[in-house]
Chain length 327, copies 2
């Protein structure tokens, strides 16, 4: 069995190696943005989940590496296109692809990455490959649906908690779940365990996205990597804002809506005012409880997977890391 | 054996049926542009090629229909994203998707179409399916490369004929070739024939794109469907312009470059002036000869395919239709 850290090192080296090769391909205006996008880095969470899952059944993780790369390439493709749609200028403290290059490059290089992901998947030799490709394609469409719901929410003030949870399930959770299931499918694991790993991923993904919402408003500027309060400034329909709109008294609602509708404002003032409302409504604690709920659910599923308790310890460790828990 | 017309009717009905179902899916802001893009129509050339190819080996064309749909969905995805990149406002006499909806919808719906194409492919039950998916993925990346070369050429005046031919091979010809080869792979045809069909498609595709270049400058306004002279107005590096720059005398070159570099001009005057230069240099005849060269090459390959002469007649008929030949 490999540790989380070992698998992280393996996948980082593999992506670096492949990205370096892509950089040499022509036309360079197509492949340079791909290389840039892959080299910016990130936690490589999804490929590590895939390898951890595969490693539950086989120690030959090299055989699953191309699929792990595929998932990361796909994930970066979604970031690339999402950043164009959201007009985001910075990601991971670097200019986004459409800022560094241009919008056309970002569209087309993103497209190429979607197909490169399939090419990577197709390198895997496994009886389960067709099922892997099916799951991957279904997941990719769900991720597009999630992004569309997220954009649809921008012009709405009546998004319900249920709608929000369905949106983050599609936009974030299914890809974590897919990564875990692909690992199991490649290893020809039995159906029951494969589906348990998928469900574990869905719950982990929901907790993960809620945590991301929470950190955007209540995180530590130094460790968060981007500016605190971005979601508040852009009126993003996060779990926090949805619960605040749901739970506030009429006077607070008027105040909250006036900040949402205001065109001219001092950024720091808006952030402080909205955070004040969140604090009065205990939104932070409410969100933490929801995170804890999905985390506990994911843990329970993980403990029920019949592969031997010790084997799932690395997955439990990664969950804790991702959710920034110290216990 | 089916006729070209019969297969056209079959694929048109199938796309209409599937597109109607997509229209009902949520989020509608994701699926409406997909439905719009598929229902605008077009010749359905690629899926018909795929079915004709499959029909050389089997009469059960229904089994290949999902792959035929996949190729058309992919083709429309490329049109959708290309139209954003080219800032095109009209396609097939209708507003382009990013004009009818908006740019974000066009990006995201295009992405969804890329994955829908794979889902369609995966419906096919065939031993050759993995090879089909591999070929499709390789082809998709080549099409992205072709589009990038085409965009790179915009800022260049020294594009050679060889570079141009490689660009249209990637941007246009490989997808026609892929359609033909997928038909053969699904029918488990032998390697030699499968590759001959691919080569037939490459040569047909090159002739087809050259014909498209020719019609943009010398076509009949009534039958061409878009305004004559668009390529000239935007200085597109077509075969015609490349040959004109290559063959012209110094005085003509000065005139041609002055039109290319001019920012303010009357559209009709620029078109007329450039056409005059083309006429003096016999560019029309030169292009027709090149089209004839690739058409003859494609015909020779087709005649060599050992499936019985009568069987390839429908493919020969379609080639003639596509190249608007009356003999």
């Amino acid at each position: 069995m490999y540790s989380v850290k070992e698998l992280q090192e393996i996948i980082i080296a593999e992506i670096e190696n492949r990205s370096g090769k892509l950089k040499k391909l022509e036309p360079s205006n197509l492949y340079s943005p791909v290389n840039y996008s892959l080299e910016i880095g990130g936690k490589r969470l999804r490929p590590v989940l895939l390898l951890l899952s595969y490693n539950l059944f086989s120690d030959d993780v090299k055989a699953a590496l191309p699929a792990a790369v595929a998932i990361e390439v796909f994930h970066n493709f979604t970031l690339l296109h999402d950043d164009i749609m959201d007009k985001a200028e910075v990601r991971r403290n670097q200019p986004t692809v459409h800022k560094k290059f241009d919008e056309n490059s970002a569209i087309l290089s993103g497209d190429a990455m979607a197909f490169l992901a399939y090419k990577n998947l197709l390198e895997c030799k496994s009886e389960g490959l067709i099922n892997v490709i099916k799951l991957f394609s279904d997941t990719a469409i769900e991720v597009c649906e999630g992004q569309q719901f997220d954009m649809d929410f921008e012009t709405r003030l009546d998004v319900s908690e249920t709608e929000y949870l369905e949106m983050i399930r599609l936009k974030t959770a299914v890809l974590l779940a897919c990564s875990l299931k692909v690992g199991a499918l490649l290893a020809n694991a039995d159906n029951k365990i494969t589906n348990q790993l998928y469900e574990f991923g869905i719950n982990l993904g929901l907790a993960f996205q809620l945590q991301d919402d929470l950190l955007d408003s209540f995180g530590d500027q130094n460790t968060f990597g981007k500016k605190i309060g971005g979601d508040i400034l852009f009126n993003k329909k996060t779990f926090l804002l949805i619960k605040a709109l749901e739970n506030c008294l009429p006077a607070e609602k008027t105040e909250l809506l006036s900040w949402i509708n205001r065109k001219d404002f001092v950024a720091e003032k808006k952030i402080k005012a909205v955070l004040d409302i969140y604090n009065r409504l205990n939104i932070k604690e409410l969100t933490q409880m929801k995170i804890e709920y999905y985390f506990q659910k994911s843990t329970a599923i993980l403990q029920n997977i019949s592969v031997g308790k010790n084997k799932t310890e690395a997955l439990a460790e990664l969950s804790n890391q991702v959710l920034k828990r110290n216990h």
